[in-house]
Symmetry: C2
Subunit: 274 residues, 2 copies
Amino acid sequence: MLEFGAKRRLSAAQRTERREFAANASRAAGRLSLPWFRQPIKVSNKASAGSFDPVTEADKAVEAALRQDIGAAYPEDGLFGEEYGFEEGSSGLTWVIDPIDGTRSFMSGFLHWGVLLALFDGQDPVVGVLYQPYTDELFVGDGEMAELRRADERRLLQVSEVTSVYDCTLASTGPQFFSGEERQAAFARAVDAAKQTRFGGDCYLYAMLAMGYVDLSVESGLNAYDIQALIPIIRGAGGVIETWSGENPALGGDVVAAGTRDALVEAQELLSKA
Amino acid sequence: MLEFGAKRRLSAAQRTERREFAANASRAAGRLSLPWFRQPIKVSNKASAGSFDPVTEADKAVEAALRQDIGAAYPEDGLFGEEYGFEEGSSGLTWVIDPIDGTRSFMSGFLHWGVLLALFDGQDPVVGVLYQPYTDELFVGDGEMAELRRADERRLLQVSEVTSVYDCTLASTGPQFFSGEERQAAFARAVDAAKQTRFGGDCYLYAMLAMGYVDLSVESGLNAYDIQALIPIIRGAGGVIETWSGENPALGGDVVAAGTRDALVEAQELLSKA
């Protein structure tokens, strides 16, 4: 299991080098998913009866390729991926992989999914990439900057300046992902307060938050690999991301993100109200 | 207002000609939306306070271009569009336009939106196009065939063969679009029965149904221009689409679509149960 530990500090040059490595590795590995997108795919079911958690060949191909590339470039770093688990390193750094985030979206032919890769320094993810191979969109961030790269286009990302939940476009993957009455009620309060709510999106909604088109996101029950890559992108675009109770979101759980601190705090108050 | 009338019959050659015209016109007009996609956009608000129904310059540019192209090619045909209303023709045929379906998705930077163009023969839409300019995906159908065209790729569409709602991936734009307790309860029954539910999608979910990745869709309160273009695509891919009560869906309302007649009928029973 990935846990918090001592913070391994990187120089700006080291961070930039790993950011560009992550961008290139995600692009190369992400393309391996395309033969399975919108094709008949071999689906195994790793969840128990009643739930639905597809594992695709695409997932495995992408994660295996990333682990190989990372192992070759940074053999002392650890690895933590959705498909192949945790492998401790000796450098104090861990690469965190969700080979296909938005698997259900991928399997249904929709476009809001992507390959997620983050570099965790023991306390925070310091580099993050979201790559969508079908649209060839690469979102990359390192906490200081975030940009979208597509073909020859490069665009710096900048969050919105909306300061109140009541003026926010709220995004969340779906109301069914909040477990327990308390969380459902909390989410309902956020939905009621927000100007409008968009469902669907998985990782992609955080990219839209980093671009300023979504003002607030509220999600629950996230794994570390669901959220780590998105944290440096949101922070690099000027946004804020925490747990509902104001803690470090790096290991997942109940996560809220916003373009402004004011909107985040107001959302956290709504989510914690008894 | 668009209404049912006498059915104006087209020969196969006439239908094919108009299908290709519709494909080309949608592509040309659809591209006019791109300067507004993910850019600061001028939003006017045509809805009254409390609701949110954005009108964008993109909407107007696309519909104006389509009306001009159609008027030049088929001056005797009628026009019915979301932005510029109804203009009766003398041919018995009417072109039905939703310049940007999924406006909220468009405005939030997401990818599940498109330009919709249909040709209505008084009883049924006989040609339909969904074009997504950012991904350059063109879905086209005429009730007999349906295909996806993207760059040099052409792929015939074929719905899924799932015959029971309990095995279906259900898609719907969002639970908040069902008005009244009765409709909400009906939709909840469908969600409970389905294997899984995906929210979000607007027009795009019908394209995924035509491709066989979504097995069932349930929506409510649709306008004629929201659904007409999608009907010949779904039927051309072998699917079925009706109102919840089994009537012609061409003027919108409460609409259900499925890959198979069995799944459709089972869904209609769930939706009508007291």
